[in-house]
């Protein structure tokens, strides 16, 4: 079997934030390659540049220098339409705060990305229902976010991220606003989707529960990649999912 496809390639990326009188160097030269189908966790303390790197990979921010390739496309070269296309079709976003549209039902939330992608109504509803079933929320399609628990909202968000069968799911602290058990559920769901659908999951996190399911952990410290650990090198002593019984 040949080498796996590199779905994300980050090369020599630096990012400065100009605060007027001072310029803050947040990323100081990051090189990173992510293989398709893997489950990646980006770990690092607050202020390490983790979120900034994460936003770059998601095409939400542009680097000061260096290049970010998503599926071999240079993100910096894209115009507004192409960026929207990329966000719609290639990437599914999951947020710490769920970010469901409060005025819409669970099903409607899931079908918005499909509408943006030009999928017809009937087809969108059919796929939306299937996705709700897949995340274990069949029958809750008519509920608004306010009528769902945090874990259920995050499940809807996961289904929404999968709406257009993206190649990458970006999850920013997906368990940050959830309790321990619910957080584990979401992690397990993401892992399952990554292995069954072959989606690359990239998540920025503080949550050590994540480590156990990750194929690769990227440690960011002070704007640089500190180390990249493969699954087998991980020290699984942090509890959580490792003990299945």
């Amino acid at each position: 079997m040949g080498e796996k496809k590199k779905i994300v390639r980050v090369s020599g990326v630096t990012k400065n934030f100009d605060l007027g009188r001072i310029v803050v160097e947040v990323l100081k030269g990051i090189d990173l390659e992510i293989e398709a189908g893997n489950y990646i966790s980006i770990m690092g303390p607050s202020g390490s540049g983790k979120s900034t790197l994460f936003n770059m990979i998601g095409g939400l921010d542009k680097p000061t220098a260096g290049k970010v390739f998503i599926d071999e496309v240079d993100v910096a070269q894209l115009d507004a339409y192409e960026l929207a296309w990329l966000r719609c079709r290639k990437i599914g976003y999951i947020f710490q705060t769920f970010n469901l549209i409060p005025v819409m039902t669970a099903l409607e939330n899931i079908t918005i990305p499909m509408t943006f992608a030009g999928v017809g109504d009937d087809e969108a509803v059919r796929r939306g229902m299937a996705l709700l079933d897949q995340v274990g929320l069949g029958g809750r399609h008519g509920h608004r976010p306010a009528e769902l628990s945090g874990g259920q909202q995050q499940r809807v968000a996961v289904a929404r991220a999968l709406a257009n069968s993206p190649a990458i799911i970006l999850a920013d602290e997906p368990t940050g606003n959830l309790d321990l058990a619910t957080g584990e559920d979401i992690i397990r769901l993401l892992k399952e989707l990554s292995s069954t659908n072959g989606v690359t999951v990239i998540s920025a996190t503080h949550d050590y529960k994540m480590l156990n399911v990750s194929d690769q952990v990227v440690w960011i410290r002070d704007g640089r990649v500190d180390k990249i650990q493969q699954r087998e090198e991980l020290d699984i002593t942090t509890g959580g999912l490792s003990s299945n019984h």
Binding site: S51, N55, G58, L60, D61, V73, L78, A80, Y81, E82, A84, W85, L86, R87, C88, R89, Y93, F95, Q96, T97, N99, L100, I101, P102, V103, M104, I112, P113, T115, F116, A117, G118, R160, D172, E173, G176
Partner: protein, 216 residues
């Protein structure tokens, strides 16, 4: 790379309508200043339409009554002279109303920052965001302006009947009143659209990365 499909208008309309319906009281407050301003405009304009109708219908009887009621008649006493003061007050009330709408819509944009950022992450184009806000404002504007115009005209007619007696009903100039109501509705809707332009641009220019921020 392929271009994004443009979201059909019907779908945008549906989203805007849903957003208004769910936030009904919020939208009502935004619309209220428009209702009041348009009602005022409609009241003043219908009032002078009626005065004109009374003069044309039975000038001899009503000339004195109109003068007593405070209307400015033109020098020949056959038509209603428009008062500059009145025009200014109407103009000012509309101006205040637009500022009120801008204020309310800006509030609504900042309340929905995360929602807008999320939509952009999901692949919405700037113009879709603008469109949603403009459609919402158009719906609000139309509803508010129709309510205000009818309310103002009705109040003006009732006031005229009370002041000049029921006999005045025979001289009510219906075509002019109708035109006034239509004009007031048009002006109201236009003001609502005018008021939403800047807030909608603010919303559309927002970076999707805002949706990622935890603190609201």
């Amino acid at each position: 790379m392929r271009r994004l499909v443009i979201v059909p208008f019907r779908k945008s309309l549906q989203m805007a309508w849903q957003s208004l319906r769910v936030r009904f009281f919020r939208s009502l407050v935004t619309t209220m200043s428009l209702v009041l301003a348009v009602a005022f405009l409609s009241f003043i304009q219908t009032g002078s339409d009626i005065a004109g109708g009374l003069l044309a219908g039975d000038g001899a009887t009503y000339q004195q009554l109109l003068l007593q009621a405070g209307y400015d008649l033109s020098t020949d006493g056959n038509s209603i002279g428009g008062s500059a003061k009145q025009r200014w007050i109407v103009f000012l009330s509309l101006l205040v109303c637009v500022v009120g709408i801008i204020n309310a819509q800006l509030m609504s944009v900042s309340e929905r920052f995360r929602e807008i950022g999320t939509l952009k992450c999901l692949g919405a184009l700037d113009r879709f965001i603008v469109r949603i806000f403009v459609i919402e404002a158009a719906l609000q504007g139309l509803a508010g302006a129709v309510t205000g115009a009818l309310f103002g005209a009705l109040a003006a007619i009732l006031a005229a009947l009370v002041r000049f007696g029921l006999a005045a009903a025979a001289h009510l100039p219906w075509p002019e009143i109708g035109t006034t109501i239509l004009a007031a509705v048009a002006i109201g809707t236009l003001l609502s659209l005018l008021g939403v332009l800047y807030p909608a641009l603010v919303a559309a220019r927002m970076e999707p990365v805002e949706a990622m921020r935890v603190e609201q």
